[in-house]
Amino acid sequence: MKNPSEEKKYMLDISQKEIEELRTTIRATSKKMTAEYIERMRKADKNRPEAMRYFDEIADFEKREKELLAAKESGKKVIGYMCLFAPIELILAADAIPVRVNSGWYDASKLGDRVVPVEVCPMVRSTIGAKMIGLSPYLELSDALISGLTCDGMTKLSEILSDYKPVWAMAVPRLKDSTQSLSFWREEMKTLMKQIEALTGNKITRSKLKSAIELTQRATKAFRRLQEIRKGNPVIMGRDAMLVNQAYMWDDIKRWTEKTEALCEALEERARQKSWACSPDTPRVMVTGTPMIWPDNWKVPSIIEEANPQGLLVADELCSSERLLYDPVGVDEWTMDDMLNAIAERYLMASTCPCFTSEDGNKDRVNWILNKVKEWKVNGVIYYVVRGCMLYAMEYMRVKKVLDRMSVPVYYLDTEYTREDVGPLKTRVEAFLEMLTARVDI
C-alpha cells in the first residue's frame, strides 16, 4: 500500500487558521440545520413512531464519530466509500467498518470551487471542500477510500482525494451485460479484496465472508420490509424513511438492522390501527436522479412533504436511499468462489447507475422506475438533478418518454447545492403537486 505522496497533486494550501474558522462556522450552521430538519420531520407527523428517535439521534454525525474513534482505538480500520459499487461485504468480512463519505454540505461546495470549476457536480465539489477543511468525520476517519469510477466527477474526485488518503479505484465497465465486463469486474473485486486484507491485516476467510453476507442480507430484509410498508397507506413520511435508509451509510449495520426491524414492527402496528401519517389521498410522489445526501441536501424531500398541497414520498430511485440495499447478494453455494461471484454480480449487474448503457440504453433503470410506479402506486415522478450532473440530466428524456406513455406526470427539478433557491423550488413543486392533486381527485 503506497502512502499518499507529500506533494499535493490538486489540493491547495490553506492556512490552518482559515481551516479552523471555516470548519467551525460550517459545522455550526449544519448542526443547526440538521436539528431544524429533524424538528420539522417530527412535527410533520403527529404520531411519529417512537422507534424513529434512534434515527434522529444517529443522524447527528457526532454520535457515530465517537463510536468510530473508539473502534479505531481498538485497532479497527474504517474504510470509506463514495459509490455503491464498493462491496460492503468484503469490508465487513475484514473486520473493518464501512462508511459512505459523499458530502451533502452546501457550504462546502463553495470551497470546492477553488479546486475544480463551478460546472462540476456540486456533490463532488462539496466532498472536495469537506476534505479541505476536515468537515466530514467519516471522510477524516477513513483509513482508505474505495471509489467506483462511474461518472467523470467521481473519477476525478478519487484522484483529488488521493492527495490525502490511499484511494482504491475500481474501474466500472460501462457495458454491464457482457461476459467480458463481468469477468473484468470480478478481477477488480479480487484486487480490492487483497487491498482490504493488506490494510486491515485480516484475512477474508470463507466463514467470515459468509457471515458478512448474511449480515447484509438481514439488513436488506429489514430494508425491503420498510419499503414494502410504504406501498400501503402512509404510516411513515417519506423523509423519515429516507433518513432511515441513509443512516445505513454510516451506522453500524447490525444495530441499524435491529432498529429498522423495530421501526417496521411499530409501523405495521400503526397500519393496523389505521393511524395514517398524512391523508391517504395525498399524491404519492417518487424522486429519481442525483443522490441527496444528509445532512444538508435535504431541501427537496422537505419541500415536497411540506408543500401546500402536500406530497408524500413513497419511493425513490436514488443511490443515497433505496438503491443502497434493494438487491441482496444471492449465493448459490457457499464456496469462496461463488460468494465472490455473487458479490460481484450484485454490485455490477443489479445496479441502475446512469453510467451504464447497453444495446437498449439503461433499460434496467427504466424498469426499476416502472416497477416502483406500478407497485407503489406513484402519482407523479420528480426527476431531481443538480447542475453538473450530466448522466442523470441526459437520461431524463428516456425516462420521460416511458412515463409519458404510461401517462404518469414527471417533473424535471434542477437545482444546486444552495439554500437560496428554496423559495422558487417550492413554487415549482407546489405547481406540480397541484396538478397531481387534481388528477388524484378525478
Partner: protein, 329 residues
C-alpha cells in the same frame, strides 16, 4: 401375469402414498417456501427412480416409459429432466457431495454449451439411424434379442439407448455387474457395452464401460449436470419451444415480469445447465429448449413475483423475496 401386474400396481400405489407423505412432511417442516423446491425435487427424483425400478421389471413398461419421455416435452417441456430423470438425480447427488466439500464448480463457456445443446440433435439422429445400418450390415442372432425386443424387435431394439439415463443403479434384469445376486448397472453402460462390442474386444468393452462411469462421475463433480448437456434423451421438442405457432403448446413454462427483473444475474448463475435465456429474454414466456424446469432460478430470484412457473395459465410457483421476514427461520 395379471396377478403380478396387480401386485406391481399395488407396490406403486404404496410408493405414491409414501411420496405424497414425504411431500407433506417437507411442506410442514420447511415453512419457508424458498428452499422447499430443492427438497421437494430431491424427493420426487428418488421416488421416480424407485418407480422406474419397479416398472422395468416388465419389458412392456420400458416401452411405455420411453414413449412418455418422448411425448412429455410436448406438454411439459423438459419437466422430466428436472424432476424425474434418475441420471439427473445421481448428478445432483454428486453436486451435493461437492457442496459438502466446499469445492467450486466450473462452467462451460456459454458458446460451447449452446453448441452442445444443438449438437445433441445430431447425436439423437445418429443413434436413431445407426442401428438400421448395423442391422443391414450385421443382422443380430435371434437369441441376442433382449426383453424389450418383445415389443420392438430388430434394429428398434437399439433405440433403447434413449432409456439410457433412466436406468436405475440396481436393475431387475441381468445387468452388467453382479455382486451377490444383485445386478448393478449405470446409465448408458449397456449401450456403451453394446457399441464397444461391435469392435469385438472383450477387455476393451469393460474398460469403456468403466471409463464412461468414471468420466460422468468426475465430470458431474465439476460441472453441474454434465451429461444433460449431451444427452439425446433430454432433447426437448424444439419446435414447441422455438416456433411462434407452437408457443402455446408446453403447458408448463417459466414466465418473467420484465419490469420486476433487475437483471441481477442470479438466475443465470444458479442454473445447473447454464441456461441464459431466463436472464436475457425481455419478459413474458421464456422460450428455450435448454431449460429443464428444475425451478432453481425461480427459487433464487430475490424479487417477489418476478419469475413464475405457470401450468396451463395457472401460477404454480413463483419467485419471492426470500429475504422477507420468515415466520420460521
Amino acid at each position: 401375469m395379471i396377478m403380478d401386474f396387480i401386485g406391481e400396481l399395488l407396490k406403486l400405489t404404496v410408493l405414491a402414498g409414501l411420496t405424497v407423505a414425504g411431500i407433506l412432511v417437507i411442506l410442514i417442516w420447511k415453512k419457508n417456501l424458498a428452499t422447499r423446491v430443492t427438497y421437494l425435487r430431491f424427493l420426487i427424483q428418488v421416488a421416480a427412480m424407485v418407480s422406474v425400478f419397479y416398472l422395468f421389471t416388465y419389458p412392456v413398461w420400458q416401452f411405455i416409459v420411453l414413449i412418455v419421455i418422448l411425448l412429455l416435452p410436448l406438454v411439459l417441456g423438459r419437466f422430466f429432466c428436472g424432476w424425474l430423470c434418475p441420471f439427473g438425480l445421481y448428478m445432483d447427488a454428486i453436486t451435493l457431495i461437492r457442496k459438502g466439500f466446499k469445492v467450486r464448480y466450473r462452467n462451460l463457456p456459454d458458446k460451447l454449451n449452446k453448441f452442445l445443446h444443438k449438437f445433441r440433435y445430431v447425436l439423437l439422429l445418429f443413434f436413431l439411424v445407426v442401428p438400421f445400418i448395423l442391422n443391414v450390415i450385421d443382422p443380430p442372432p435371434a437369441e441376442s434379442l433382449t426383453l424389450m425386443a418383445l415389443v420392438l424387435a430388430g434394429p428398434f431394439d437399439a433405440w433403447r439407448i434413449l432409456l439410457g439415463p433412466v436406468i436405475p443403479l440396481i436393475v431387475p434384469w441381468k445387468g452388467p455387474l453382479e455382486i451377490s445376486k444383485i445386478y448393478f448397472s449405470y446409465p448408458y453402460v449397456q449401450e456403451v457395452i453394446y457399441y464397444s462390442k461391435l469392435l469385438s474386444i472383450e477387455v476393451f468393452t469393460t474398460i469403456m464401460a468403466w471409463v464412461f462411469v468414471a468420466l460422468t462421475i468426475v465430470g458431474s463433480f465439476f460441472l453441474r449436470r454434465v451429461w444433460c448437456r449431451f444427452c439425446p434423451t433430454g432433447s426437448s421438442i424444439a419446435i414447441v419451444n422455438r416456433f411462434r405457432g407452437f408457443k402455446w403448446a408446453p403447458l408448463l413454462h417459466i414466465y418473467k415480469d420484465e419490469v420486476k427483473c433487475t437483471k441481477c444475474g442470479i438466475c443465470k448463475r444458479v442454473c445447473p445447465v447454464q441456461v441464459t435465456d431466463v436472464y436475457e429474454q425481455a419478459g413474458g414466456k421464456i422460450t428455450t429448449s435448454m431449460c429443464m424446469l428444475c425451478m432453481r432460478c425461480v427459487e433464487m430470484c430475490p424479487y417477489e413475483d418476478c419469475l413464475k412457473v405457470n401450468f396451463g395459465g395457472k401460477t404454480v410457483f413463483k419467485s419471492r423475496n426470500w429475504l422477507e421476514p420468515a415466520k420460521v427461520e
